[in-house]
């Protein structure tokens, strides 16, 4: 039976007078891509330092590919486990090539220089991480993303069988983050290198890892497939705050975000705005209305529509119809009721088709009841109904006193004037 890549067996570890890890046990199999997440100070870094023998366990043992880490010589250990720290700084002006060569230093004897094989490995690592063209540049003059790839090349030059990354992609911008992740995925797939990614970013962890370990207060509270670990109740308990967990039906990715619940308490206006939106046209409007302190209702929206996700995330009162279905009677009646209670009705630049045309009827009835109606300009261009009914309806409403808006900025001015 193959030995696990990394095994913690009842490990207790910590610093002077303060234990951080308490009797921790877990196993990472060879070839896995595992993410470790958890709040600040939960022991992620301590775990990593213990795995790399930088910190000696107070109790218990750490095994790397079956060997107790205490029995491994430093150079042997470096050939098994490579660590990419959050940030590496070189005070001196080393070239990229010289930095990457450090990865093989421990494998060369004191009296021997680098062998041909060493240079082959160094070149291969630099190709893998796409830094070969930077070889003669000064390391410290590179951008953060380039530096991180150089460090990755240096660690890969150790030819480790398990690679641990400590928050090392957290401060990169999104394209560099994904570039590093693609490299990691490739190494994991092609070279069968086990990857252990420590990250704050729950969504990212869930996206790339086959398995997610969630840590809290020095112990592992949950592990498994990311969608089985990222459960709202568990996360709220671990992070001790209110959280939203959303599954993207298209990409299958998981989004975790906090709740800006105090947004609603900022304003104290007594004005209620009913928003007729759809397809994501309402998201930014919802946010601005909330910030300005309006009470918002919305509908009818279709489930799984991004506006429907937005009202759920922002806890806005809304009428939701079944996903991908035409708007039916009960929903329509409910939405009309809400619109008639509101002071202002806003129609966003949502396209209209036979399914949601009835939303315009809601606006019209509200207008007839003396409500202010603000319609986004250019509705005819988004009109997919037979006989251009939406465009006609809108034109009639404008004749009856509805206002037209061009930009969100203009709309917010109008709304604030009306309230």
């Amino acid at each position: 039976m193959a030995n696990a890549a990394l095994k913690f067996d009842g490990v207790t570890a910590g610093y002077r007078g303060r234990t951080v890890l308490e009797n921790l046990s877990f196993v990472i199999e060879e070839g896995e891509f595992v993410s470790l997440a958890g709040p600040n100070g939960c022991g992620k870094s301590t775990l990593l330092k213990t795995a790399a023998a930088l910190l000696k366990p107070l109790d218990g043992s750490v095994y790397l590919f079956g060997d107790d880490i205490r029995t491994l010589r430093p150079a042997q250990r470096a050939g098994l486990i490579g660590v990419v720290p959050q940030k590496v700084e070189s005070p001196m002006a080393y070239s990229v090539m010289q930095i990457v060569m450090n990865g093989r230093t421990a494998m060369t004897g004191l009296l021997h220089g680098f062998s041909d094989h060493d240079f082959v490995v160094i070149e291969r690592s630099m190709i893998y991480t796409n830094v070969l063209h930077l070889r003669d540049r000064y390391f410290m003059e590179l951008s953060g993303g380039e530096q991180q790839r150089v460090i990755l090349a240096m660690v890969l030059a150790q030819e480790p069988r398990i690679l641990m990354l400590d928050e090392s992609i957290a401060h990169l911008d999104i394209n560099h983050r994904y570039e590093v992740l693609r490299i990691l995925k490739r190494i994991n797939r092609e070279k069968k290198v086990t990857v252990f990614l420590v990250s704050h970013d729950l969504a990212l962890s869930a996206e790339v890892a086959g398995r997610l370990m969630l840590m809290n207060r020095g112990g592992i509270v949950s592990e498994g497939r990311p969608d089985k670990v990222l459960l709202p109740d568990l996360l709220e308990q671990v992070y001790d705050c209110e959280l939203q967990v959303r599954n993207d039906p298209v990409t299958g990715s998981i989004h975790v975000s906090g709740v800006l619940d105090d947004l609603k308490s900022i304003g104290n206006k007594n004005t209620t705005v009913h928003v007729i939106a759809g397809g994501g046209t309402g998201i930014e409007l919802f946010r601005r209305l909330l910030v300005d302190g309006f009470t918002i209702t919305s509908g009818v929206l279709n489930g799984m529509d991004s506006d429907a996700e937005a009202v759920r995330a922002l806890d806005i009162e809304a009428v939701i119809e079944k996903p991908f279905s035409p708007i039916g009677y009960p929903a329509l009646a409910l939405a009309l009721e809400k619109a008639l209670k509101a002071d202002i009705i806003i129609v966003t630049d949502v396209p209209f088709g036979p399914g949601n045309l009835v939303n315009l009827d809601i606006a019209r009835k509200a207008l007839a009841n003396g409500k202010k109606v603000l319609i986004a300009q250019g509705i005819a261009g988004r009109d997919y109904t037979e006989g251009k009914q939406a465009g006609k309806l809108a034109a009639e409403m404008v004749d009856e006193g509805a206002l037209v808006w061009n930009s969100l900025h203009e709309l917010m001015r109008m709304v604030n004037r009306e309230s």
Partner: protein, 347 residues
């Protein structure tokens, strides 16, 4: 089977023959040429005039041998101070690190002062370098111990330098105290020694010093690629499979050995250990595999040339060589540093 193995090996070799470290051969050759020329020219300078002594006459022969011996002293001491500076700067990742800052020179000086004033030097042969080395090592451990007290385990660079400066100050005031209490005869010896000079000591002392210094520099050279890795920090070096604590300890001992030996045979000569490493780094980059031997050569030559000036400019008065290193070297080095600092040390 064997043949096929050889074949693949050859292929790899030719394929990657271009993928190697690039060694600036031309630059190094020019440097070696300049060094040899300067050393040769330094033999022209002396209190007896600017010319090569006529080695056919006994007097000329003696003068020549004197100048040659001082050149060797300059080479040894300059190399020792420079390499010690290179190693301290690498291990502590600090551009200000050098034997003086860490109290090593001060400790060596205190030990040497004791040995001179209490007659050990006269009574026991070779006691001077040993006294200097032992007290320098003791000082290093004291500094290291004080620095690690607060941080538990490995001291931070800041606490090391802070305690180094403090211990250094204590050492120099103790030296002052000893000097003020000394008899007139001892006083002269100590002052002469404290100013720093390259007057060759007895042959046996010179040989021991040469062995110490060569061993220390060789030891540092063996650690060169590990010192490169250590500049990324102790933690990163550990992850790369380098036994960081052992490398740091051995490197510090090597640097202390050569610095203390230099102090014991030539007294307090400042400036060399701090500035030569920076200039060599600016010229040849920070790779310690090249930096250490080149600094040894460059530092040695620099001190030998400074000494040639010191003994001849105001002849027959001899200026302390430390004055020359600072006065002559300072502006020249500032010029180089200003132009090339960017390529040497970042931050």
């Amino acid at each position: 089977m064997k043949e096929s193995c050889n074949n693949t090996h050859t292929i790899t070799k030719t394929e990657h023959i271009s993928f190697k470290e690039t060694v600036p051969v031309l630059k190094i050759s020019v440097f070696l040429g300049v060094v040899l020329l300067l050393l040769f020219l330094s033999l022209f300078l002396g209190p007896t005039g600017i010319m090569l002594p006529d080695t056919a006459t006994p007097v000329g022969n003696a003068i020549m041998s004197l100048r040659f011996n001082r050149m060797i002293m300059g080479l040894l001491v300059g190399a020792a101070l420079s390499v010690s500076g290179v190693v301290f700067q690498a291990v502590l990742r600090n551009p200000l690190a050098e034997p003086y800052v860490l109290g090593v020179s001060g400790g060596a000086g205190l030990g040497a002062t004791f040995a001179i004033l209490f007659g050990a030097v006269a009574a026991i042969p070779l006691s001077l370098p040993f006294a200097a080395f032992i007290s320098a090592v003791a000082t290093l451990f004291l500094v290291y111990g004080i620095a690690s007290k607060g941080s538990g385990g490995t001291p931070s660079v800041y606490s090391l330098i802070l305690s180094g400066v403090i211990i250094s100050a204590i050492c120099s005031s103790l030296i002052m105290f000893l000097v003020s209490m000394a008899s007139v005869e001892g006083l002269h010896n100590v002052i002469w020694w404290m100013l720093g000079n390259l007057q060759p000591p007895p042959l046996s002392q010179r040989l021991v010093a040469a062995v110490f210094i060569i061993v220390g520099i060789a030891g540092s050279m063996l650690l060169a690629s590990r010192l490169n890795a250590l500049t990324l920090g102790r933690e990163m070096a550990h992850y790369q499979g380098i036994n960081a604590d052992v490398v740091i300890l051995v490197a510090l001992l090597c640097a202390t050995l050569i610095a203390a030996t230099a102090v014991s045979i030539a007294g307090m000569i400042g400036f060399v250990g701090l500035i030569v490493p920076h200039v060599m780094r600016a010229l040849f980059g920070p790779d310690h595999k090249m930096l250490i031997p080149l600094s040894a050569l460059g530092g040695g030559t620099f001190l030998a040339v400074c000494d040639a000036f010191a003994r001849s400019v105001l002849a027959p008065i001899e200026i302390p060589v430390g004055v020359v290193t600072a006065l002559a070297g300072g502006p020249f080095f500032l010029l180089i540093l200003q132009r090339k600092m960017r390529g040497a040390w970042i931050g």
